[in-house]
């Protein structure tokens, strides 16, 4: 990120070090603030809010708007931080979060990511992204000099906020009954209710406070960096790393993590030069996140976790062979009659379908939510661009991302659930900035030319090829699901403790699936590159990865048909956007966000819900009613699937 206060050039080494450290501390203070808010919402509601940064971003824009309307600084700031932002948090809790209950991780992640895209779309619609805006720092022009370091009042304010806010939070959580009740709800939600504290209201309060903290950080950050929706939203990923240092629960550790991260980034910016890497500081959050995840004690295998819901049935080999054949015949027919002008879009969609297919084994079967699938796709495209369009290029497009996937799997083997997802996110973020924006990878700023594989220069022929590859891969994924590997993978997602007591080593399974899924995504990415003939950083941007994952989960990431329809929708909605005028941009996000809300009800996605509807399931009815048991949670889960 480009800080305005650049390092002074002509200074002695000690002063430089001091200046860099102080600048880093200031940035670290912002990370600490934003991460504290994340921790507060996570601990009180059990939901990791991916949209935390987006809330802060929206608050910064709201604050800017109030200033534009002529409101003085202080009232505008207080109104945003103490009224508007908490209100937004409370609305989010009320409309989205409360419905989630015992939802699976992939669903809760999807819902808050949908929220992220939604808020981003709102900001981009209301405040046109191409117009540059400047949010003035507080106390413009005022500064003090301590020793040799120049500190603006704005920076001092950041430091003051980073000291007072956590202290106030600490006092609130220890001294007031409501604060104590917030911690009590984390300990034992039901007991807190029995004591007379309302867990719902406390959850709401948690989201209110979290949003308020996000707003403080967002406003301070926007004046420090730039008032840009995407930048502000994504910078919070640094805050995630800080929160992971605190295991998402400890405020002191989280704040320390934020400060260390800020200082390390600043020092890296000042001292480390790696010729091929022009943005050293962007990989530091990833490094910190990985280190934090690795030195933390291993999580015990959880016993008695929630049972999964009704899963879509796996077609037999004969049936999937039949449907693959039918699909190919139908697709060939359709390909033959598509107007030439539409060939590009359809091919693009088919390639996206292959990338989405790579989510099925990973997320759909194994329950490991990868947030960096487009990163693998990008590596595939780059590999083919470097090796060439021959058969060898295609092989490279699969093997290179597969190898990277396996490498990423190695440090994350012990991780599960949210931590695994955060690790993939950090990886995607670092690759986004350090790899795809790297001149030595992408040749020049026009992008990297990618050849068509196997010399398929005819557009119609190429489309047929991509569709055939999708069909073959889909058949392969289903065959994998029916194999031992597939059973291992699903079992691992359902009950790690059950797997362990059957003698299953989980590492090999995870490694193979990471590699397989990454390889598949890479193939899709290479074919996508072939269609576009040039790829750039924006094709594999992290946000796009999230959008794709969202589409897949909303439509059904456990079924082939689900991801296929997701790919269609992904292609179609932007086409519709063109006819909808200025608000059109947000339609995709809006639909995805709404779909995400609906997930609370049908957690297999839309296609999964249709496939497992009673009319389509012909199974023997169970012989005797469930025995009487006070084993509540399991009963509730099962009924949730049927009710």
């Amino acid at each position: 990120m480009a800080h305005r206060n650049d390092t002074p050039q002509r200074m002695d080494p000690v002063s430089t070090l001091l200046a860099l450290t102080v600048t880093g501390l200031v940035t670290g203070c912002i990370y600490a603030l934003t991460a504290s808010g994340l921790v507060v919402t996570y601990t009180t509601s059990g939901i990791f809010n991916f949209a935390h940064g987006a809330v802060g971003m929206l608050a910064a824009f709201g604050y800017w708007q109030l200033l534009e309307k002529g409101m003085p600084t202080l009232p505008a700031f207080l109104l945003t931080v103490l009224v508007l932002a908490p209100l937004l948090g409370i609305v989010i809790e009320r409309v989205l979060i409360r419905r989630l209950g015992n939802a699976t991780l992939e669903v809760t992640l999807t819902v808050t990511m949908g929220l992220l895209l939604l808020l981003l779309a709102i900001a981009n619609t209301v405040w046109d992204a191409t117009t540059p805006r400047v949010l003035q720092p507080f106390f413009v022009g005022k500064q003090v000099t301590v020793a040799t370091v120049v500190l603006t009042y704005h920076q001092l304010l950041i430091i003051a906020a980073a000291i007072t806010v956590p202290l106030a939070l600490w006092a609130f959580l220890r001294m007031t009954r409501t604060g104590i009740a917030m911690r009590a709800v984390v300990d034992d939600r039901e007991l807190a209710a029995l004591a007379g504290a309302s867990p719902t209201r406390i959850g709401q309060l948690g989201w209110g406070i979290g949003s308020s903290l996000a707003a403080v950080a967002g406003i301070l950050l926007a004046a420090q960096v730039e008032l840009n929706a995407t930048t502000l939203t994504l910078l919070v990923i640094n805050g995630y790393a800080a929160a992971v240092v605190g295991r998402l629960t400890s405020l002191p550790l989280t704040i320390t993590g934020g400060l260390v991260l800020g200082v390390l980034q600043s020092l890296a910016l000042g001292y480390v030069t790696i010729s091929w890497l022009n943005q050293v500081q962007v990989i530091i959050p990833m490094l910190i996140l990985f280190v934090a995840l690795l030195i933390a004690p291993p999580t015990r295998l959880r016993v008695g976790q929630l049972a999964p819901l009704v899963a879509p049935r796996v077609p037999s080999s004969r049936r999937s062979l039949g449907s693959t054949g039918a699909f190919l015949v139908l697709a060939a027919g359709i390909v033959a009659i598509i107007p030439s002008g539409q060939l590009g879009n359809v091919t693009h969609g088919a390639a996206v379908a292959i990338i989405l297919l790579s989510l099925v084994p990973m997320v759909g079967y194994g329950g490991m939510v990868s947030l960096c699938q487009l990163t693998f796709a990008g590596i595939g495209a780059v590999a083919m661009a470097k090796v060439g369009g021959g058969p060898l290029g295609l092989v490279a497009a699969v093997l290179a991302p597969a190898a990277v996937g396996a490498l990423l799997a190695l440090p994350t083997l012990r991780l599960r659930g949210l931590y695994l997802s955060l690790a993939t996110l950090a990886f995607g973020y670092a690759m986004d900035n350090a790899f795809f924006q790297n001149a030595s990878v992408m040749t020049n700023n026009l992008g990297l030319p990618v050849p068509r594989p196997l010399g398929l220069d005819n557009d119609r022929g190429y489309l047929l090829f991509v569709v055939a590859v999708f069909a073959a891969c889909a058949f392969g994924v289903l065959a994998m699901r029916r194999s031992t590997l597939g059973r291992r993978l699903v079992a691992l997602g359902d009950s790690p403790a059950g797997c362990a007591t059957l003698g299953m080593g989980i590492h090999v399974t995870k490694l193979v699936v990471f590699a397989l899924s990454a390889g598949l995504a890479g193939l899709g990415g290479a074919l996508l590159g072939g269609q576009q003939s040039v790829v750039g950083q924006s094709d594999f941007a992290l946000l796009l990865s999230l959008t794709l994952l969202l589409m897949a989960v909303v439509w059904g990431v456990r079924t082939i048909s689900g991801v296929f329809i997701a790919a269609l929708a992904f292609e179609l909605i932007p086409q519709l956007n063109g006819h909808l005028g200025p608000v059109g941009d947000s339609v995709l996000s809006l639909l995805v966000g709404l779909g995400a809300v609906g997930l609370g009800r049908s957690q297999n996605g839309i296609v999964g819900a249709v496939l497992s509807s009673p009319g389509l399931r012909r199974l023997p009815s169970l012989p005797h009613p469930r025995s009487h048991s006070d084993d509540v949670s399991r009963e509730e889960v099962l009924t949730g699937a049927q009710g």
């Binding site: 220890r174 029995l194 004591a195 006070d630």
Partner: protein, 246 residues
């Protein structure tokens, strides 16, 4: 209180379960305005579900819950608690990551219960809690944790007190002390519904007994009247000789 005869807590025709699975079938049970009513039954008989319904944590599929004659069916646990129903759930009913003092602070949600009063009463009754007031509750011994949980019942002066297996996993000496406390709370005028697996002890301190099996109340009566049936349910005392040939 409306009249002497009004039950402290009454379940009328309550059925409840989880989804399609019924656990309680048409339960009628009245907790008298004075004394201890012990609810006994083997594992899975539905005792815990009954307490969940009574405390508002599970909604009955049919039937009514009345607190001092007022219909409170469907009221949230926190509202019930503030109105005067005190429920100590199964297991350790304290917040392990809060200190003793902070736990006590959580017992002040009942209107009219002050922080000072709770602390004074708790520390006077259990001096050990005073010594450890800055410790996390999770670091206390099992008995101390249960005492901390019971201080809520002591200070809230509830309309009715529901206790779910408070002696679970405790040494007999500690359990006996707890039961003594329960008896005393009842003698001071708070009606108690006591769910227990230590049947014999429960019978000792109970004024009346209800025995559950398969989601029904099978027997009600005085401890003397139901004693024999209870023993049979627990240890199959009659089944031993014929079963030992294997």
């Amino acid at each position: 209180m409306t009249s002497v005869m009004t039950a402290a807590l009454e379940l009328r025709g309550v059925s409840a379960g989880y989804g399609r699975v019924a656990v309680l079938h048409d339960i009628d049970l009245a907790v008298p305005p004075y004394g201890v009513l012990a609810l006994l039954g083997s594992n899975g008989a539905g005792k815990s579900t009954l307490l969940r319904v009574a405390s508002g944590r599970t909604s009955p599929s049919s039937g009514q819950v009345l607190l001092r004659g007022t219909d409170v069916t469907g009221r949230s646990p926190e509202r019930l608690s503030r109105t005067g129903l005190c429920s100590v759930p199964e297991g350790r009913a304290v917040f392990p990551n809060l200190t003793v003092t902070e736990n006590l602070r959580m017992w002040t949600y009942r209107p009219g219960v002050s922080r000072k009063a709770v602390e004074e009463q708790a520390f006077a009754r259990f001096p050990r809690l005073k010594e450890r007031r800055k410790q996390l509750a999770g670091r206390l011994s099992g008995g101390e944790q249960q005492m901390l949980a019971m201080t809520r019942a002591l200070t809230a002066e509830p309309d009715v007190l529901l206790l779910d297996e408070i002696s679970m996993g405790l040494a007999p000496v500690v359990a006996a002390e707890l039961f003594g406390l329960v008896r005393q709370i009842a003698d001071d005028g708070t009606p108690v519904l006591l769910v227990e697996q230590f049947a014999r002890t429960a019978l000792e301190i109970a004024d009346s007994v209800a025995v559950m099996a398969q989601g029904h109340i099978r027997v009600t009566g005085t401890p003397e009247e139901v004693r024999d049936q209870v023993l049979e349910t627990y240890l199959h005392t009659d089944a031993q000789p014929t079963r030992l040939e294997n």
